[in-house]
Symmetry: C2
Subunit: 371 residues, 2 copies
């Protein structure tokens, strides 16, 4: 087991990473203050892991809340089911909410914990690669609104995060790839050596090699913890974690939630950010291609959806949270391993990026084969 500390003053917390941590009956209880526990999970995850988790919580009064699975349920109506369960079972202010599942479960359970009786204890047990390396670190919680993703929520830190790498064995390959989009992102924005490591190990990661997964998760969480620790409320550097996300959110919104996985949209969005960084002259075409090739080898889409034109992107990006005082801010790369947030770019260059031929770009970035 590896332990990592996210340093946020009095809201600091540990992240534990290792195989089969779910079965430990002495790790979790250390982070539970009261006698009541509410496990929030979904219909897909509960048959796999709920019983094992409940078994490790002998001695506590456990309430299970099993929600429908999917981003389309990340709304107030589903959140209300958590409150209904907590109140019906008379959970008091010392209760602990445990999120068992992917990013949607983590976001909803976290917002429920932040809001129930104005805030109760919260523990994350992320079971997808995406939530393990991204949404379980940093305290962002929330739900969607018909007019925008993650528009309602709270910054709320967990008491602890428990990452059981063995849970990835039950994850569909498409979702594993989606998680790798965020892993690759850390290399691109702040850790160039990690990018090289990923190029060497991408096959092992897709093949579920546990040691490789543990290493990739640890380095990703470290990168995120470092950035979040420096800027908890996203006033500056934290925004670089959104590389590819502004373009990606436009893709998700346009396709309808759930058609493209979040990581898939981020992957295509990252390719667009790489291309724009190249057009600005900050990175070379071959550096851009290095990023595109790695995303492609991770099993991710590197071309935006064919049904979207530049105007579609511009319309959706206008309501993005990265808009401040009407100005669109984008995360771009100064070089491989260093990102910046800027609204200082010519509009024509953004439009050229939106109109670029990504099919051709994807072909060019493919590794040259010799007969």
């Amino acid at each position: 087991m590896q332990t990592l500390h996210v340093d946020l003053g009095e809201r600091s917390y540990p992240i534990f990473i290792g195989e089969r941590l779910l079965d430990s009956d002495e790790l979790l209880p250390r982070y539970i203050r009261g006698k009541q526990v509410a496990i929030v999970t979904n219909e897909t995850v509960s048959p796999l892991y709920l019983e094992r988790l409940t078994k490790s919580l002998a001695g506590f009064t456990v309430t299970s809340v099993v929600l429908p699975d999917g981003e389309e349920h990340k709304n107030w109506k589903t959140l209300q089911l958590i409150f209904d369960s907590l109140l019906s079972a008379r959970h008091d202010r010392k209760t602990t909410v445990i999120a068992l599942g992917g990013g949607v479960i983590g976001d909803m359970a976290g917002f429920a914990a932040a809001s129930y009786q104005r805030g109760v204890d919260f523990i994350q047990i992320p079971t997808t690669l995406l939530s393990q390396v991204d949404s379980s670190v940093g305290g962002k919680t929330g739900i969607n609104h018909p007019l925008g993703k993650n528009m309602i929520g709270a910054f709320y830190q967990p008491n602890a995060v428990l990452i059981d790498t063995a849970t990835l064995a039950t994850l569909p390959p498409r979702e594993l790839s989606a998680g790798l989009a965020e892993v690759i992102k850390y290399g691109l924005i702040c850790d160039e050596p990690f990018l090289g490591w990923l190029e060497d190990n991408i096959g092992d990661l897709r093949g579920l090699n546990q040691a490789a997964l543990t290493e990739a998760i640890r380095r990703s969480c470290e990168a995120k913890a470092r950035v979040v620790g420096a800027d908890e409320r996203e006033s500056g550097i934290r925004a670089t974690l959104n590389l590819g996300h502004t373009f990606g959110h436009a893709i998700e919104t346009h396709q309808g939630y759930g058609v493209w996985l979040h990581g898939e949209a981020v992957s295509a969005g990252t390719v667009m950010a790489l291309e724009m960084s190249r057009q600005l002259g900050w990175i070379t075409a071959s550096e851009r291609d290095r990023g595109v090739r790695l995303l492609s080898r991770a099993g991710l889409p590197v071309v935006p959806p064919a049904n979207m034109c530049a105007a579609d992107f511009l319309r959706h990006m206008a309501v993005d949270k990265k808009v401040l005082d009407g100005q669109l801010r984008l995360v771009l790369l100064k070089r491989l391993g260093e990102a910046t947030v800027t609204s200082d770019f010519p509009q024509e260059l953004l439009e050229a990026t939106l109109n670029a031929n990504y099919d051709a770009l994807a072909r060019e970035s493919e590794p040259k084969r010799f007969p």
Copy 2:
């Protein structure tokens, strides 16, 4: 104008108290960071003050959200109307939400500000005595759930609170009295000299004497700011602010929200807390009667509703937020001017309190008249 500072480290904020502060066009803008402002108010308050407030915000983009009036609308459905308006008008993360109205508006607008895009700026302009002396100070925000009052919310501090004492001229006398219940509470729990001042000035307060109101509001806010500053998240001393509230919430729940005003329920609940403190031997019968008499002179009920028996109280109090690990905690008086939170009392004594003859007690506490 009087200015008071609530000291909460980096979340400190000022409270301004004075006549006709609503018309000042230079006070408010100092606390608005961006260009967008959303005024959240209700159907009763908007015809009275919305136009004046909007006029003082020339130069800002103002969105008005007019909600239905009443505690029965303090729920998710109404909260959603705020989010709908903010998103439709494309408010970004630098927007400022202003609550213009009573406690229900403050609680809902505050929770909306806490949750919109995970937290935006917030200013309170309370227009009822109750919200001026209580709910605008301390950062408690939230909504009700069918299974309990204020069960969903956040601790969220405003940037500033603006109290215009002239707005009390449009408040129904019954609501003025309800506000006085909380004013009297501060005397009982932490300021015995203030209790004497109130006995001398209760007539002027009910007669809307502006100087008396300003003094009562200032001393109440000072008392609350002192307590909240010492214990922001209600782990200890802050709970003493709930004198009469555990009994009072039971009354509100049993009668249905809105039948008894919050302050009225708190008044009857305070009488029960006074009686229980007397039964414990902490205060004398004549000290208890001093409290009961002052509440009665303020125009408040001092007898619990006739349709509630001891079992009704016990049932409703079991889901109160003051229950921890199954133990009911009550705010009681060690002496006039000093409250304590305790679960260390015999169950029989609680039942004797619930079964006491409050009609007789109310008669006995009346000032003796000589022919």
